[in-house]
Structures are given as C-alpha cells and as structure tokens.
C-alpha cells in the first residue's frame, strides 16, 4: 500500500515537473507571437494612415504628422552592409589565424581577447566612437578620403567624424567577434583528412585554406555572415552615437544619416502625438521583420552545414 502511494506521488511529481518545463518552453513561442501581435496592433494607426507609402516615402515631419520609413530603412541596410564588407575579411583572417596558424599557447589568449571584444556593452562602443574615434577620423582620415577618393561620389561629404561610414566602422568592430567565432567553429569541422590530402600533394597552407577549407565550409560562412548582418541591423547604441541622425538620404557615405534603431532611440520618448508614436512603432516592426527573416536564413544555412559536415 505504501509503495503504491509513493508510486502515485512520483507520477504527480513527474507530470507537474514536465508540465512546468513544457509551459516555459511554449512561452518562447507565445512571446514571439506576442511581440508580432503587439507591435502590429500599436502600429495599426500608422499602417492605416500611410499604407505602403510608409515604406518608400522620405517624409519625416513630426510637426505636420507626415512620416515615411525610407531614410531609416536605407541607413539601417547600408550601414550594416558596409559593416559586413569591412568585417568579413578581417573575421575570416582571425578565424584562419586561430584554427590554422596560431601556436597552441597563443590560441587561448587570442580567442579570449576576441570574445572579450564581443562582451563590451554597445553603449561603450558608442561613447568611445563619439569621443575618441570621431575626432580622429575627422582630423586624420576623412579629409584624405575626400581628397584622394572623392572622385567616387560615395566618398564625399562633410569630414565631421560622424556619419554613415563611421557608424558602419564601429558596427564592423562590434560584429567581427561574432562572425569570427562562428567561422572558427565551422573551420574546425573540416575533416583533417581533407586538409592532409591537400598538404600531401604539396599544397601550401594558403592553398589548402583557399581551395579546401573555404569551399568546403562555404554555406556555413555565408550563414555566419548573415548572422553578423542580423546583429548589425538591430544594433542601436553605437549607431545612435555615430550616425548623425539626419533623415536625408545621401549617397555620400561621410554625410550623416539615420537608422531605424537610432531613430527609435532618439525620438521615441519625445513622441507625444499618437501618429508619431505609431509610426515609430511601425519602424520597430519593420526592423523586427527584417531581422527575423535574416536571422532565420542564417540559422538554416548554419544548421544545414553542420548537418552535412558531420556526415
């Protein structure tokens, strides 16, 4: 009888514990759905008022209540893409250094240092960028960019140290640790026998890396890059400090611009009118949808790679 009771209480305990675990696992799905629903509901006024025009209108006039998202979307995407262009070669270099080149005693400390770079809060990057990097850029770098590369329209603008290019540069430094750590993990999954066959026929280290390792890990690297892109798109504080917050679209990368996250950070608490607030929330919704798609894609690519990699 006593044994039977104990068995029963075990069953209740099991059901309870599993139930609680299941509840919190489901809460992630509910949370995700709730974010979409709440953002959609709050931006409904703006969606109804501006319709699709919101996506391609360049208006941003809080006084007359006319809003368009194009400058912010443009700034978000362009700054992130430039950041990727800067960060990709450097990240791959770091990953190659850590997997193929560094002596064992150096791998640990350098790997840790790169990871510490990822753990610095983004507001510190922003502040450092504004007070240290921006004056340096405006004094020593941007005038030369304009002098020597100014014949290309994108390398023009005001040498203030604040603008699209400085923001993208800080973003690049911030996403290098993410891309390089994913790339490092993927490089490690290349079967040694493939690399050894390369060395066996007399290939140099670089030939093995460029003709065996990189082709083998291609889809994983693309995944890592898209993951970095997802990070860069949503990054707020560093961009807010450096991008200059101008709702004008300029092809010159040294000019100030804005991004979705910077617009939100700067204007959200000042928005009193319903339509202003609703437009800002719609910007947030657009950002969320873009990053959701980009990160989902990255995840699928990285997963697919690690699956075939194990086979």
């Amino acid at each position: 009888m006593q044994v039977f009771d104990r068995h029963k209480s075990y069953k209740i305990g099991d059901a309870l514990f599993k139930g609680i675990a299941y509840f919190f696992a489901l809460s992630v799905i509910v949370l995700m759905a709730l974010i979409f629903i709440v953002l959609l509901k709050e931006s409904w006024l703006s969606i109804k008022t501006f319709g699709f025009k919101f996506l391609y209108s360049t208006a941003w006039d809080p006084v007359s209540g006319d809003f368009g998202a194009l400058p912010a979307i443009f700034g978000t995407i362009v700054s992130s893409l430039i950041a990727i262009i800067i960060a990709l070669p450097i990240s791959l270099g770091i990953a190659i250094f850590l997997t193929e080149m560094a002596p064992k005693w150096l791998k640990g400390p350098i790997g840790t240092a790169i990871e510490l770079l990822a753990s610095i809060p983004s507001i510190i990057y922003g502040m450092w960028g504004l007070f240290i990097l921006a004056p340096l850029l405006s004094e020593y770098v941007e005038p030369y960019i304009i002098d020597y590369l100014g014949f290309i329209p994108i390398f023009r603008g005001a040498p203030m140290g604040i603008g699209m290019l400085p923001a993208a540069f800080i973003l690049a430094i911030m996403i290098i640790p993410f891309i390089s750590s994913v790339a490092r993990d993927i490089f490690r999954m290349v079967p040694p026998i493939l690399k050894e066959s390369g060395y066996g026929v007399g290939a140099t280290k670089w030939e093995v890396i460029s003709k065996v390792v990189i082709p083998y890990t291609k889809s994983g690297i693309i995944g890592a890059v898209i993951l970095g892109l997802g990070r860069a798109l949503g990054e707020t504080m560093a961009v807010t400090f450096l991008i200059g917050n101008s709702h004008d679209i300029s092809i010159a990368l040294l000019d100030p611009a804005t991004s979705i996250s910077a617009t939100l950070a700067n204007e959200f608490t000042e928005a009193v009118e319903d339509i202003y607030l609703s437009s800002l929330i719609e910007l947030g919704l657009i950002l969320f949808v873009i990053t959701f798609i980009v990160l989902g894609l990255a995840k699928i690519l990285i997963n697919r790679f690690s699956y075939t990699g194990r086979r």
Partner: protein, 279 residues
Amino acid sequence: MDLHYIKRKAINLLALAASLLSAVFGIVFLFWILKDVLTLGMPAINASFFTELPTPAGVEGGGLANAILGTLMITVIATAIGVPAGIMAGTYLSEYGRKSRVASVVRFLADILVSAPSIVIGVFVYALLVKPFGGFSAIAGSVALSIIMLPVVIRTAEEMLKLVPDSTREAALALGAPHWMVTVKVVYRGAIRGITTGVMLAVARVSGETAPLLFTSFNNSFWNFKLTEPTATLTVTIFNYALGPYEEWHQMAWGAAFLITALVLFVTLISRVIVRGKA
C-alpha cells in the same frame, strides 16, 4: 619552375601575414577601447561617485549612487524572472522534447530571439507594460531585460544538460527514482557548473544593455526604491550624459562606462576560468 614555386610561397606568406594582421587588428581595438575607458573613467571614480546623487547641470561633485542601485535592482529582478524560466525551458528541450517538433520550433525561435534587436524588445515592453499602466517603471525595465536574457539561458541550459551522459540518467532511473527527481538531483548536479557560467554571462550581458531600458525604466535623478516608478540605470545615464553638453556630465559618463565595463569583463573572464577548469 622555380619562379612558380617562389610565387606560391610568396602568396602563402602574404595571406598568412594578412591573417595575422586581422588578429592584431581585433586585439588593438580591444586594448585601445579598454585603455581609454580606464584612463578617462578612473578620475571620475571616488567615494562620492558611489554614495551621492547626481548634481544639477553645471554644479561640481555628486555621484551616480541612484543609477548604480537602479542597475543592480533591475538586473536582479530580470535575473529572478529570466533564469528560472530559461532553465525550465532548457530542461524541456534537453530532457523531454529532444527531437520533437515543439522542441525544434522553440530552439529556432530562441536562436532568433538571442540576436533580435534589443531596442524592439524595449518598444514591445513599452506597448505592453508602460503605455497601459501609465508610466515608465523599474519593473518594465526588468521584464525587457529578462526577455533578452531568456533565450541565452535556454540555449546554455540545454547545451549543458545535454553534456550529462544518458547512462547517468538511466542508472538513476534504474534505482527507481522518478524522472523529475533524476533531473533535479542527478542531471542538474552534473550540469551546475556550466549552467552557472551561462547564467553569469547572461547577467553580465543584460547589465550592459541600454536600448531596452530607454523606454521602459527611463531615468530618474533621485533615489527610487519603488518598482512602479522610473528608475535611473548606469547605461541610460551614460547615454544621456554622453550626449549632453556639459564637461562634468561627460566625466560622469566615463566613470559609469568604466564601472560597467569592468563589471562585464570581470564576470566574462571569471566564467571563462570556470569553463577552462572543467575541461
């Protein structure tokens, strides 16, 4: 033929040098940023920094005691919400769901949520907890941070629980222990080190977050002990002070930057040491 060989060697050296330079690039920026935060932040750190309230603009002295307390308070509450929820969800993924469809959906969404823009989480919590309840509050800030923490804790908990070999579970089950007791007394015990590390990293990460706090806990120039009132935090203070026009504000902001960076790096390094001790 010799020329071909020399060319290949040269390209090899060049590529390897470029890769070395990339590593140097990363490390240079790490130390450059740390050096500036240290040298500019240290002068602001003194006794009154930790004990006094901020002074009005232009007045010398004062401190950020309320912001330090606010950051502590909001982070502790966020941890109290996010960590148990995350560990339970991780337990489901590792002990029950495993390869089920629900588990893979949860994993996928958690991975997206890890990198989701934190400012959007701030907007979401604003719409959920600030607007309907009529004001910025510490609790809204805590909820926003706990949402950012949740997916990190879930994924680490799952990874760490998975490292416990199934034979250990089976041995305990064979003794007649119920599943939940096996999980709590055997599996958790085996994974406690890894989970603690993951939790520490997650706490460190959210304590440096700014974007989700801008429209949730907002800011406050005075002491606040109520969860329903706007509350100052170190990170939001940095944001406001750094963009402000006064030299004293910038000085304070560097002090706050130093404090938060030192805290985050310290926790990150400690948890790395713990992980290495295990391996």
